[in-house]
């Protein structure tokens, strides 16, 4: 948890995070003004925009770990930590937990901000909207695990690129249904967390959220175990 706390502190001290949250909420709020352009569908548009922007925020938070871990390995910061009674797996799990908690908190803040803005605009907040955002929050778990996996053996910018590409592929599972090996367990099916239509019109059950959450956790365990195996053989600076 000490390692997780360090990651939490790092992200919370980045001013760009607060700027991101503010921009997201402003963009969500601005959708209220598009009633004419959207032919009166601005309510649905606001929900859709909020889900998309929250997803982007979740991806950015997850990708941020691809800069932290390789940097710590390259500069020798990790060596000092690993000289303590801290196993390499514990180090990775600490980083993963730190980024997951931070990602959930930030997407949670965006969700709360969206509910406040939406309620101010339309005087209501439905459970399906909230559930849609809860799924985005849950998607932080498998995305962070992919990021940690790539961070362990690829330098920063390549790891970030590989993570973004992998997340993009993982979101595109419906259009790539013929390429089964990609989402047969190697990449997570992030479409499980992308229920925009249901968030607007209803139909997300609590049971579905639980299954998606458990699936994300199982995938993260798999990705972290693989990362740990690679990391155990890596020579550190």
């Amino acid at each position: 948890m000490a390692i997780a706390g360090g990651t939490w502190r790092r992200i919370l001290r980045m001013r760009v995070v607060y700027f991101l949250i503010l921009c997201v909420l402003i963009l969500i709020g601005s959708a209220y003004n598009y009633d004419i352009l959207s032919m009166g569908m601005h309510k649905q548009l606001m929900i859709d925009v909020s889900l998309v922007l929250n997803t982007i925020a979740a991806i950015l938070i997850a990708v941020s770990i691809t800069f932290e871990i390789p940097k710590e390995l390259k500069e020798g910061v990790a060596s000092t930590l690993l000289s303590k009674p801290l196993g390499r797996t514990q180090y990775l799990v600490g980083k993963l937990v730190g980024i997951i908690v931070t990602g959930i908190v930030i997407t949670g803040l965006i969700t709360l901000g969206f509910m406040f803005v939406f309620n101010a605009a339309f005087g209501e907040v439905t459970s399906s909207m909230v559930k849609g955002h809860v799924l985005i929050m849950a998607s932080v778990i498998p995305m962070s695990a992919i990021a940690v996996l790539f961070s362990v053996f690829i330098p920063e910018f390549l790891a970030a690129t590989a993570t973004v590409v992998a997340i993009w592929f993982a979101h595109a599972t419906s259009s790539m249904s013929g390429v089964k090996f990609l989402y047969g367990g190697i990449l997570p099916d992030l479409n499980l967390y992308n229920l925009r239509a249901e968030a607007v019109y209803g139909g997300i059950s609590s049971g579905y959220i639980l299954v998606a959450l458990v699936w994300g956790i199982v995938f993260s365990v798999f990705a972290t175990a693989l990362a740990s195996l690679i990391f155990s053989y890596k020579d550190l600076k």
Binding site: G5, R10, R13, L82, P85, L236
Partner: protein, 310 residues
């Protein structure tokens, strides 16, 4: 019990496809008993940092093994009793010194009731108390080195492993750090450190080893190693015949401004016999004293011999 033991410890860098042919460390076998301040010497690229990284389980050996207090380096319980300062330490720049030491204290399982006091204690030892709330990213090299020492001694370690601890410090800082190391020794901590500053090693260490291109050149008690060097012969001015006779066997020569000569001889039985014979023939012209090289001379002689063989 030996605090550090290595048996044929070897490291080749590179991947399994294109592994380098020459090992960075070649079959290192040493035993360091308890109660030592051990100096690990060698020129750049000798394998000192590689050895330390193997001892700290930061890299894996290609062959052989290392043991700390009889246990392999990946034993997490053993790491609770070890303090480590890497070469040119870098710490998380976004953390304050206190936060960083707090994280280290948590990793070392120091109880929460003792953590704050212990952090204040070590920061006092390294004279960084007034900088505890400052971010590590703004620290100078010397300040970072002091925080590095602080995190290494947080857990009152039984073994302190320091990689080039004196580099980057001004003379005042070096003296303070040497005092800290000697204080740790008085408290019962074993110290193992690598250094290029031979004069400091000679003053602080009771045992040393010298590495060159991954190979161990010598290992043992400093007094024993340096006492093996030979004899120093002073010859008065005017004794040219004696000088001509002895110079071919001397390993070092020096002519003083008064015309006298000083010759250095290695410790060999036949040399000692010959010198004694000459002394008997010319008792007033020559003076023989046992010579103990200083560590610097010993070090360079060993390296030059190794270079000649290579």
């Amino acid at each position: 019990m030996n605090v550090i033991e290595t048996r044929n410890l070897t490291k080749y860098y590179g991947h399994f496809i294109w592994k380098k042919k020459e090992p960075a460390l070649n079959r290192l076998t040493i035993e360091i008993p308890e109660g030592s301040v051990f100096g690990f010497l060698g020129p750049n690229g000798a394998g000192k940092t590689t050895t330390i990284r193997l001892l700290m389980d930061l890299i894996k050996p290609s062959e052989g093994e290392a043991l700390l207090f009889g246990e392999p380096p990946d034993n997490l319980d053993i790491k609770r009793h070890i303090g480590f300062l890497p070469d040119n330490p870098v710490f998380s720049s976004y953390l304050s010194a206190y936060e960083f030491l707090d994280i280290c204290a948590k990793l070392l399982r120091i109880p929460s009731s003792e953590r704050k006091n212990r952090i204040n204690e070590v920061s006092e030892i390294v004279k960084m108390t007034k900088h505890l709330k400052s971010k590590l990213g703004g620290f100078s090299r010397g300040m970072t080195q002091r925080i590095g020492i602080a995190q290494a001694i947080l857990n009152r370690p039984k073994l302190l492993i320091l990689d080039e601890p004196l580099v980057g410090l001004d003379p005042h800082g070096r003296q303070e750090l040497k005092d800290i190391i000697l204080e740790q020794k008085r408290n019962g901590t074993n110290v193992f450190f690598s250094s290029h500053i031979l004069s400091d090693v000679e003053k602080m260490c009771d045992r040393i080893s010298i590495l060159y291109q991954g190979n161990l050149l010598c290992f043992g008690k400093l007094d024993d190693l340096l006492s093996q060097t030979g004899s120093r012969v002073h010859i008065k001015h005017g004794e040219d015949e004696i000088i001509k006779d002895l110079i071919p066997e001397a390993t070092g020569t020096m002519r003083h401004s008064d015309g006298s000569w000083e010759l250095v001889f290695q410790s060999k039985p036949e040399t000692t016999l010959r010198l004694n014979e000459i002394k008997e023939l010319h008792p007033k012209s020559i003076t023989i004293t046992p010579s103990r090289e200083n560590l610097e001379d010993f070090f360079f002689r060993k390296i030059e011999n190794a270079q000649a063989i290579a």
